[in-house]
């Protein structure tokens, strides 16, 4: 009630200002008159009575002001006053205003844009119910070079049956490509085979139709499918009657039973179709085939540590029960959020830090400008203080002005960020933030606002404190406004510039390290040449190509046609081109070597290829021979192995002509002879060293995996031939879907995309930092020159040579630079460790990078010194002496 009343008072004061003012007036006048009457009664003359009353009362206006203050309306009024005054001062000084707003806009745009990405990847909640309880469960096969391996079905079944920590667990497998046939072009849809409980484990529901039921998942049950919202809209026009319709996928009939909610995606953006996996009992007890992705929902309150301990215990049991297949294979859970943000987390955090640095430099810059300007306004402020303004009042006014600047900068920065965020989001590859999209939302807007206010306060508070604390009489006595702030102010400005230089050095050296890493990766020999190579996928529908002979005929014919096209140098098939699959490995036994204990068998990658594949990729032949036309069906089985495999499996002996067999010691050996050794190819990533790897001709090997990547080396621009090559495939089978047509260079680029984005953003930020630091130095020096006009004039008049003047200015600038650079280098050396994960072929303390950026900044400093120095040098001593 009381609060309400005081609020009404305040409103009354604010909106019925005239009434309140006149009441205040009346009240005080009444008091005076009453006092006059009293004095008259005491026997004074009317003149005396009035004067005495006035004297006793004191300053009427002052009392009024204090009464207004008590009513606190003043708060609103002063804000309005200060804002309009601030706007006026800014308008009077458009150059300063524009510069300050632009500098702030850059800083705020950078930090807001990065925040929007960080928000999307690291902060915003995942679109699942109680997403914090969701984890992915992996096998730890570090002993075989796969620390983060896809689990085997048998292991999944055992985890699910024996664990005490999960509410439920679901599995999905890389269901691969579903060919949608029927009306329209053959289209490939990436789908997932899933256990029926997947959606309920995730806590996601269908938008249309129903979820899978347990009976859909029984082997032999009628085929059903759930579509993604996107597929439903794009391929089926959002047909409301879709549920119950039949589709033909891979030449089999599926009934659509549901459509997922808009925006649902699991396990990645690509999945557009989910079908029950219908794992048989036999498959569910297979412990050797590792291909699942497993998601679990923790029971409420179960910490990750407990879950991991439980999984480890079960993994030990499984290891004992199946030593052949599960020796040294552990199990662990990773929170879904971490899994999704993955490697991008440290990269994004580094960028957030960099953006903060840019923002700090921008703040320092504006604070510097305000300080310089404040010295010009020192007299104005002294005047205000003398006329009775309190120190708080002056600080408030200065802060209002700086907040005004910050908000203007923030608004401009948000506009920049709006424009930049979609651009940034497009730079970020699917892999870096697969489930979230960066966008402008209220989070981002609020962040921008908060940053503006924080920066406004940060850069406004120093000048405000400085100016409001002036010694009144001395500043009023001073002639001009020029030497206002004195040495203290100059030192503060110098310190700010030193900080700018230091921050710029840190950013520049970080960017230099990143760029050098990127350069190293681009110049690295990945074991193949990606230029002039066209890649496309032609996954064969299982049902149509069940026979080995049919598959072989398809490959033979396509290679024959494509290989003979004009402009084609060589054409080959492979199961996976480099950078598309980190695994695809199989265990082997080597002839004349003792059978190693479980867990120590070599498990090289295996790639099933056509004979020209090595030529199409321009892989290096180290020794022996490549495949030729004699390596066909029925002849001696041969393989090419990479250098790593030669080294690791034959321990320095010559592997050429030696034999090995796939499969376990109990199986009948099918010997394969090593025909040649080829150079290591970086399969898993440009920055990932090669694993042992072998290549086998498709004519000789009837594997579980079939070659599906067609690789074509062309004479000219590869995409020019895309249409012709595709037609060549369709000439062999007009129903064959063709997917992912692209130059191989795209894969290389994608592989480096995250690094490239990080390096270019960091580079951009460093560039901004460099520019801002240079402007900071420039501003301080030119201000110093103006301040010291008289001094310089005296020196010149007394015979100082232009060189001496030059020296005066340069030594000031270089002193700032040296201190800043020393501090910056120290900080950079200490901090560059956070970049370690994204560095390649360069140490975190790479001297060349650090020296390079120091020289760069030194050059820019000299440039920033030169302009004010030249001005000082050309000063006419007579004019500068008179300058007042």
């Amino acid at each position: 009630m009381r609060r309400l009343k005081s609020a009404t008072h305040r409103f009354r004061s604010l909106f019925r200002k005239n009434v309140v003012e006149s009441e205040l007036d009346q009240e005080l006048r009444f008091h005076l008159e009453r006092q006059v009457a009293e004095n008259l009664a005491a026997g004074m003359t009317p003149e005396e009575a009035r004067r005495a009353a006035m004297r006793e009362f004191g300053g009427v206006e002052q009392v009024k002001e204090e009464c207004r203050d008590e009513r606190r309306v003043n708060f609103f009024e002063t804000v309005i006053q200060d804002v309009s005054y601030g706007l006026r001062t800014l308008r009077k000084n458009p150059g300063f205003a524009f510069f300050a707003v632009a500098v702030l806009a850059l800083g705020i745009a950078a930090s807001t844009a990065i925040f929007s990405i960080a928000d999307a990847v690291l902060v915003r909640s995942l679109p699942y119910r109680n997403a914090e309880r969701l984890v992915m469960v992996w096998e730890d096969s570090s002993a075989y070079g796969f620390p983060h391996d896809t689990p085997a079905l048998g292991n999944f079944s055992d985890w699910k049956a024996r664990n005490e920590v999960f509410e439920d667990m679901a599995a999905t497998s890389f269901g691969g490509a579903f060919n949608l046939t029927g009306d329209g072009n053959p289209q490939e849809i990436l789908g997932r085979s899933v256990t029926a409980n997947l959606f309920s484990v995730l806590g996601a529901s269908v938008a249309l139709g129903r979820d899978f039921r347990a009976e859909d998942d029984i082997p032999g049950a009628a085929h059903v499918a759930i579509l993604s919202h996107k597929l439903w809209v794009e391929r089926f026009g959002g047909d409301p009657q879709i549920v119950g319709k039949e589709m033909r996928f891979n030449f089999e009939k599926y009934t659509v039973i549901g459509v997922m909610q808009l925006g649902f995606q699991f396990p990645d953006r690509e999945a557009e179709l989910w079908v029950p996996a219908q794992f048989t009992k036999e498959r569910l007890s297979n412990h050797g085939n590792h291909f699942l992705e497993v998601v679990g929902r923790l029971k409420p309150g179960v910490p990750l540590k407990t879950a991991n301990a439980n999984l480890a215990t079960i993994a030990k049991q499984i290891e004992k029960e199946h030593p052949d297949e599960n020796a040294k294979i552990g199990a662990f859970a990773v929170p879904l959020r971490e899994e999704i943000s993955g490697d991008s987390r440290p990269a994004i955090l580094v960028l957030v830090g960099a953006a903060c640095f840019v923002l700090l430099i921008a703040c320092a810059n504006v604070a510097n400008l305000l300080l310089a300007r404040a010295s010009g306004r020192r007299r104005e402020m002294a005047m205000r203080l003398t006329l009775g303004a309190s120190r708080g009042r002056v600080i408030r006014q200065m802060l209002t002005e700086s907040l005004l600047l910050a908000l203007l900068g923030g608004a401009a920065g948000l506009v920049l960020a709006f424009w930049g965020i979609p651009f940034l989001a497009s730079l970020i590859p699917a892999g870096i933030a697969p489930l979230s999209k960066s966008e402008v939302n209220t989070h981002v807007l609020l962040f921008g606002l908060a940053v503006s206010i924080a920066t406004g306060t940060l850069f406004g508070v120093f000048p405000a404190l400085r100016v409001s604390g002036v010694d009144l009489s001395s500043s009023l006595k001073q002639g001009g406004g020029r030497d206002g702030v004195g040495t203290g102010g100059r030192r503060l400005r110098d310190v700010l510039v030193v900080c700018e230089v230091a921050l710029a050095i840190v950013l520049l050296s970080g960017a230099a390290l990143m760029i050098r890493s990127l350069e190293n990766l681009y110049h690295l020999d990945p074991g193949f040449r990606a230029e002039h190579v066209l890649v496309m996928r032609t996954p064969l529908p299982r049902q149509k190509y069940e026979e080995f002979a049919a598959r072989k005929a398809f490959y033979d014919e396509v290679l024959e046609r494509v290989g003979n096209l004009p402009g084609v140098v060589a054409a080959g098939y492979t199961t996976w081109v480099p950078l598309t699959n980190t695994g695809g490995a199989t265990g082997i036994l080597i002839e004349n070597q003792p059978v190693p204990p479980p867990g120590q068998r070599p498990i090289p990658n295996v790639r099933i290829v056509s004979k020209d594949y090595t030529r199409a990729l321009t892989m290096k032949l180290i020794r022996g021979r490549l495949f030729d036309e004699h390596d066909g069906t029925g002849t001696q089985a041969v393989a090419l192995i990479n250098e790593t495999m030669a080294r690791q499996c034959w321990h320095g002996e010559d592997p050429i002509g030696r034999r090995f067999t796939r499969g376990g010691p109990t199986e009948k050996p099918e010997w394969v002879t090593v025909a040649g050794i080829v150079g290591d190819v970086h399969q898993a990533g440009l920055d990932v060293p090669a694993r042992p790897e072998m290549y086998m001709p498709y004519e000789q090997q009837d594997f579980g995996y079939e070659p599906e990547y067609l690789v074509v080396r062309t004479v000219g621009e590869p995409m020019v031939l895309a249409g012709t090559v595709r037609k060549g495939v369709w000439a062999v089978d007009k129903e064959q879907p063709v997917a992912d047509v692209m130059p191989l260079e795209n894969l290389v680029d994608d592989n480096l995309a995250a690094r490239r984005v990080q390096a270019s953003l960091l580079g951009g930020f460093a560039g901004m930092a460099l520019l801002l630091a240079a402007l900071g130095i420039y501003a301080v020096l030119s201000f110093a020159v103006t301040q010291r006009t008289q001094e310089i004039g005296v020196r010149v008049a007394l015979g100082a040579a232009p060189g001496d003047v030059l020296h005066l200015i340069f030594s000031h600038g270089l002193k700032l630079f040296v201190i800043g650079a020393a501090a910056g280098l120290t900080a950079a050396l200490a901090m560059s460790r956070v970049l370690l994960h994204s560095l390649y072929g360069v140490s975190a303390t790479d001297p060349a990078s650090f020296v390079g950026v120091t020289i760069l900044l030194a050059g820019v400093t000299l440039l920033a010194c030169y302009i004010p120095a030249r001005r000082a040098m050309r000063m006419d001593p007579m004019r500068s002496l008179r300058y007042e």
Binding site: R2, S6, H9, E23, F30, H31, V63, E66, C67, R72
Partner: protein
Amino acid sequence: MSKPTDLVQGTLDLLILKTVALEPMHGWAIAQRIRQVSGNVLQVNQGALYPALHRLEQQGWIQAEWGESENNRRAKYYSLTKAGKKYLQKEEANWERLSAAIGLVLKTV
């Protein structure tokens, strides 16, 4: 002569509240009354009185009403509100305790 700055912070508020607790009064009368009652020891400066009145009104301890003065002029009369009454009781008790404590110290030490 006692200037308002000599008054312990908050004492003026207490005096005003106590004074208007008797009957509604305008500012001049409040000042007069405090002076008379204190035997001319406490002279309230107007420069302090009016801001204090406005503050107390703002806080809701007192309320103001325009009325006819003893010499037939319009004057602003302040009176104690319910909340003000409670506040005054609490403050009076505080004051008693404080002055008793100070007195005790002065006597014994």
